[in-house]
Amino acid sequence: MSLTVPYKKFPDPSGAGGFAYYAAIPVNIALPASNSPRSKRFEAIIDSGASNCIFHADIGRAIGLDIAKGAPLRTLGVAGPTSVYAHDISLHAPGGIIAVRAGFSADLPIAGLLGMKGFFDHFKISFDATALACTLERIYRT
């Protein structure tokens, strides 16, 4: 199964036309137990520069996580190192549910990042700057 998703425009005063393109898709997350209620759909950016999937702590709390009880995880961004808390969750993404150990942070400026571990390792992903679209092909491992 493959899915082509047009890039989304986000305001960016420094960008041509006052915007920038990002590859972003709507996802839900839930606790790992089957039939756990999902979060509302939220938009997460597909980010090959992120080692892990990271979501805003508000969403984690909403699905029932005690954020601070997660395993502390140090991450390094452009602004320097920061701490997030890792929890096992279910990521509802194109092609079905993925079991992910994701980081949660109240300091994340956006709702979510889909990173290398937990997202890129479940898809073949191509970014097409001419078509302004991203194509996701799910990998199913036996």
């Binding site: 915007f19 509302k40 950016i45 956006i110």
Partner: protein, 67 residues
């Protein structure tokens, strides 16, 4: 690069409050609710009758993302 004109989603995000949560309509053309937190925007979007909104967290300032 295409122009930003006639992009209701982009215009909606430009008018969205910063450092907040916004709920976009299913067709992503307009904001149906805002909130200071995820829980608040979910509650407000339900009160607005939005059945399946897309939630977006806005940053403190719009700028290039280097996360």
């Amino acid at each position: 690069m295409p122009a930003a004109a006639n992009d209701p989603r982009l215009e909606a995000l430009r008018t969205a409050p910063l450092n907040s949560w916004v709920a976009l309509s299913e067709d992503e053309t307009k904001i149906v609710a805002v909130g200071a937190t995820y829980d608040e925007v979910v509650k407000n979007s339900e009160m607005a009758g939005a059945s399946d909104p897309i939630l977006i967290k806005t940053p403190k300032d719009w700028a290039s993302f280097s996360l």
